[in-house]
């Protein structure tokens, strides 16, 4: 019996062993539990004064809609926002992580963050995980060099475009953009076009639905229009509203204020070296 065994070489970096095992198990029919995805329509476009990002608000878990009004436009910096499609956990974790890194970078440099910084941080992270972090992002923002719009794919490749769509509804939204986009749109035209593209994703793609979120970023600031359009209202609602009977009886209410152990002096002396 030979002693040679498959040894994992002692190097650093992410270990993909379990990924290969998962692939093998999937081929045999043992599937991992379905995770929450944002089968999505996310779009972005560059207009006259900056960038407009749009997203639908449906989050799915296999065939079930698990969240009818989730937020897919994530904050990265005061002047940079990022829409995320793919696995919800992955997009949120990656955008949170890069947003913290950008904040630290702002403290270091003392300047406003640039969109290419966010782009490079995201793309390096996603490439290092070779596509297993399933996050497809549309990153947009305005910085000192101008308005920028980028798409980032799960494997780490990026594109810089004047208009972009991602997610399962991207084909429907791209069709709208390709026929109606032109350079130099005004703010209202841009918002209308973005809403139209997201609506076409919502109505024609099963993985997208509910409401439309829009985020307008310009040199002056940003405007996050949460639920800008709600084309899917609830069909039947109880006119009396809901009243849940209180089940647990309250016997006694007693409030004990905590005694202060330390005296707090406002504006004391500065610490000595």
């Amino acid at each position: 019996m030979s002693n040679s065994v498959i040894e994992v070489p002692p190097k650093g970096g992410f270990s993909f062993d379990l990924c290969k095992r998962n692939e093998m198990l999937a081929k045999k029919g043992v599937n991992p539990p379905s995770f929450r995805k944002t089968g999505t329509t996310i779009v972005g476009l560059v207009f006259q004064d900056g960038v407009i990002l749009g997203a639908d608000t449906r989050a799915t878990e296999g065939p079930i809609v698990c969240d009818k009004n989730c937020e897919k436009i994530h904050y990265m910096a005061p002047n940079i926002y990022c829409c995320g499609a793919g696995t919800a956990a992955d997009t949120e974790a990656v955008t949170d992580m890069v947003s913290s890194q950008l904040q630290l970078h702002r403290y270091h440099t003392g300047r406003e963050s640039r969109v290419v910084t966010a782009l490079t941080l995201l793309k390096r992270h996603l490439f290092n995980y070779q596509g297993h972090v399933s996050a497809a992002l549309v990153l947009g923002g305005v910085d000192v060099t101008g308005p920028h719009l980028h798409t980032i794919y799960p494997h780490g490749s990026t594109d810089t475009l004047p208009f972009a769509t991602m997610g399962s509804g991207s084909l429907a939204a791209m069709a709208v953009f390709e026929s109606k986009y032109k350079e130099g749109l005004t703010r209202n035209e841009g918002i209308e076009l973005v809403t139209e593209a997201i609506c076409s994703g919502i109505f024609n793609d099963l993985g997208s639905g509910s409401n439309v979120d829009v985020c307008v970023i310009t040199k002056g600031g940003k405007e996050y229009l949460r639920n800008h359009l709600q084309p899917n209202p609830r069909t039947y609602t109880n006119s009396k509203g809901y009243s849940f009977p209180k089940k647990t009886e309250v016997l006694l209410t007693k409030i004990i204020p905590l005694k202060e152990k330390v005296e707090i002096i406002e504006g004391g002396d500065a610490m000595e070296e």
């Binding site: 019996m1 030979s2 040679s4 065994v5 498959i6 040894e7 994992v8 070489p9 270990s15 993909f16 062993d17 990924c19 290969k20 095992r21 692939e23 093998m24 999937a26 599937n31 089968g39 560059v46 207009f47 006259q48 004064d49 900056g50 793309k123 390096r124 996603l126 490439f127 070779q130 596509g131 297993h132 399933s134 000192v144 060099t145 101008g146 308005p147 798409t151 794919y153 799960p154 494997h155 780490g156 490749s157 990026t158 594109d159 475009l161 997610g167 399962s168 991207s170 084909l171 026929s179 032109k182 350079e183 130099g184 099963l206 993985g207 040199k219």
Partner: protein, 300 residues
């Protein structure tokens, strides 16, 4: 027979463990027995020749079950046509502009010719992510090298850096590159660095899926000592021929001319290219309807 079955199962699982392809490719398993079927399968994994370019790519993908999402989750690849041609005085690099994810065109106007230094550019093909990262690393190394050397880096150094990264990571990467530039020692040079990481200096180089249709064309049409305009016209003609026949190439033709005077970028939109056999003139084209004058884009 029962024992053999168990052994086969252990070996099957064993083959999936281990980080690097070369370990299971070399067949380092504790048990040597192989059934005929598995032997054949092993061979095809190792050579990859039977599978062809797309088969190899499929091996690396994780297949998702939902058909709707399958294509959009495929790695971003540039089924491409890239060309590099030397002429007397410099080089001309050319590429199409289509980036596809499965059967969907993710970007119809991408720029596949990226800058490494002022005088060296690289045409990228294969996996978009891999080629972007490789060119980022090489740009960083070349920048350091230029500072340490005190003068502009030569094309040979740039090509060698790309080759080192491509060769040493050949199990992980899937990218074919053409490096072209001008330096004062050798003049205009083109180096091809295809999939495995070979480095080959050539008077002209072609790469990408569309290049299959251009081998014969270049054998006939390329000649030594062309002028700049002849070379550029040759490149544009070749890319447009490849676009006509290759489904994975399309969009616009971008060229970069590098010589002692500097770098010139040119752009040839799809509708200005010559029509080939059985191609029709556009009728009621959206390009005409949509090309109404529009206000200036934003300038900061």
């Amino acid at each position: 027979m029962h024992v053999r079955k168990i052994i086969r199962e252990i070996r099957k699982v064993g083959r999936y463990l281990g980080n690097y392809g070369k370990f299971y490719r070399e067949g380092k398993t504790p048990i040597v027995l192989l059934t005929k079927e598995e032997n054949l399968r092993n061979k095809s994994v190792r050579s990859g020749k039977d599978l062809g370019f797309w088969g190899r790519q499929e091996q690396r993908q994780i297949r998702t079950k939902m058909d709707l999402n399958m294509d959009l989750n495929a790695p971003h690849s540039m089924g491409t046509t890239i060309i590099g041609v030397t002429y007397n005085g410099g080089v001309v690099l050319g590429a199409d502009s289509r980036t596809s994810t499965g059967m969907y065109v993710a970007n119809r106007a991408s720029d596949k010719i990226t800058q490494l230094t002022d005088n060296v550019y690289v045409c990228r093909s294969g996996s978009a992510a891999d080629s972007q990262l490789v060119s980022d690393y090489v740009r960083y190394f070349l920048h350091q090298h230029t500072i340490q050397l005190g003068q502009p880096a030569t094309v040979k150094v740039a090509a060698n850096l790309i080759r080192l990264i491509s060769y040493n990571n050949k199990n992980m990467l899937e990218t074919g590159l053409i490096v072209g530039g001008w330096d004062k020692y050798e003049g205009g040079k083109i180096y091809g660095i295809p999939l495995g990481g070979t480095l080959i200096e050539q008077p002209f180089a072609i790469g990408g899926s569309g290049s299959s249709y251009l081998y014969g064309f270049f054998d006939q049409a390329w000649k030594e000592g062309m002028t700049k305009d002849e070379a550029e016209q040759l490149v544009v003609k070749a890319v447009s021929l490849a676009i006509a026949r290759d489904g994975a190439s399309g969009g616009v033709v971008r060229t970069v001319v590098i010589n002692s005077e500097g770098v010139t970028r040119n752009f040839y939109p799809g509708d200005t290219l010559q029509l080939w056999h059985e191609e029709l003139e556009p009728q009621n084209s959206l390009l005409d309807i949509l090309n109404s004058p529009s206000p200036e884009p934003m300038n900061i």
